[in-house]
Symmetry: D2
Subunit: 169 residues, 4 copies
Amino acid sequence: MKELIIKKLKDRGVKLEAISAVVYKLQKPYSENLTVEECQDALEHVLEKREVQYTLLTGITLDELTEKGELDEPLAGIIKEDEPLYGVDESLAFAISSIYGTIGFTSFGYLDKHKMGIMKELDTSENNVNTFLDDLVAGLASAASAKIAHQKRTELNLKKEKLEEEDVS
Amino acid sequence: MKELIIKKLKDRGVKLEAISAVVYKLQKPYSENLTVEECQDALEHVLEKREVQYTLLTGITLDELTEKGELDEPLAGIIKEDEPLYGVDESLAFAISSIYGTIGFTSFGYLDKHKMGIMKELDTSENNVNTFLDDLVAGLASAASAKIAHQKRTELNLKKEKLEEEDVS
Amino acid sequence: MKELIIKKLKDRGVKLEAISAVVYKLQKPYSENLTVEECQDALEHVLEKREVQYTLLTGITLDELTEKGELDEPLAGIIKEDEPLYGVDESLAFAISSIYGTIGFTSFGYLDKHKMGIMKELDTSENNVNTFLDDLVAGLASAASAKIAHQKRTELNLKKEKLEEEDVS
Amino acid sequence: MKELIIKKLKDRGVKLEAISAVVYKLQKPYSENLTVEECQDALEHVLEKREVQYTLLTGITLDELTEKGELDEPLAGIIKEDEPLYGVDESLAFAISSIYGTIGFTSFGYLDKHKMGIMKELDTSENNVNTFLDDLVAGLASAASAKIAHQKRTELNLKKEKLEEEDVS
Ligand SMILES: [Ca+2]
Ligand SMILES: [Ca+2]
Ligand SMILES: [Ca+2]
Ligand SMILES: [Ca+2]
């Protein structure tokens, strides 16, 4: 299933490297020794989650059906013009972004308003419907960022707890 | 748009009265002078919200597309068998249930496990795909219940505050 | 209760005008004829919600208890240093931001990373603990923005539906 | 930190075994070969998450402060009587319940209305304030259930995918 999802993303113009680049940009200010490989690893981890896979599949399918004219009105028009009160794309992306806890969704809100890199390309792509995809990518990048934040902080906390234990003894 | 949604629900076998009946059953234990009309009013209020309308439209469309065989695999199979790790139906219903705040989603979780009335009928309907619809109905009933809980409590609190003011003076 | 909350906010250095200014900055790009009064009105509406009042009260109390040294360790230290994995402040703010539906929480995520106006002041205030307060203010501003977005869009949609009806007849 | 949390729970009358028993009751209908040890393991896993630890610490502290009379009015009264519109306890429990994705929160809603085992004891304990604790326990049990559901389903899916691959070759 994971391979299918990665292929789907690529078919819609999104390579994993482009998402990792967003993760790197998001997390670099908080951990100076961060590498692009760690971002890629975190992203791969997110993509292994069944719930994430299913959510991506659903959102991408809705974009594709709209693009091919296979959805009825008024839903087709609402998705095509990315109606501001349409919240389903955000709901799906939110579910992905918070797969490692609440800290993921703040990154998502930020990316949603402050599109960068691949997200900007998707947003300005004229011929495709990417109403779901840009949010889903933001969700993936946020979840991977959350994973990294947890890892880095856990390492730090373990170090601190160890120091305190040594201090006591 | 509201009329369209009510028609869509009816075409899928869900009359508003059947949802109101679930609301009544949920809220009656907490407010003894509750009437079915109040439940219907609260439900109508929920259905006026744009975000609720759009979410219903999306979920029902996914059920219909699956039923008509217009979705590709593996998504079609996942929705048809209501795969336990598929969370998109719950995400959409959650968004509806919490349209008046967090108190709505606990009712939703309860209804999701403890299907009653129309929800039971939908769940056991053999020929239709209602993977989204049963959760959406639970979301609507939960939101309407939350609206009633807020109203009843606000009335009570205002009464209490008034009594306290009179007490002071 | 509303008056008590407004007083509490003021005692902690947050005037409603300062929050309205954030709302105005957030929503102005999307509706050019927006006024500061509309932002203030939307904010007042948010502050009338019981659930919002209770959530604000809880968060501000946790800031105050930490400030006065009345919380035990390790919780006191975690709140004081705004530990990145501490998510309770975001959870409370999230509940406020989504009181009018999912569109509120994307603004919240944006504000959380991109602090502006009063939020910046709170964040750099040396003598006070504002771990909860800055997020709560972001939540309030996001909820008020969502309210405005719904109003403006509903007006627009009603206008469009009316035009289409006239078109048909 | 994990040991501290386990001790805190025990001091408030909640042994891990009692929570595992709720998990077992919740998940047994879905996986017949489930053991109590698996439930205990899943629960231990949940308790290792920093965000879960911090959220538990905050909720339990609010119960304790209320019990000791160290919170001001009106918050003290609101927490003590578990005011129906007070949603902070549900928000915290929701964050815990969804630490493995959206499927956790439906169990939470169910447990919240249908208190069982240790949750019932907490709810009827006369001398203690457990407004937060009963919801937090429901959140822990729901998260552990979600973990088990993911594991069981992933095993099943892997088996199915393997069978399909063999079928093709
Ligand atoms: Ca979008
Ligand atoms: Ca379903
Ligand atoms: Ca904060
Ligand atoms: Ca409670």
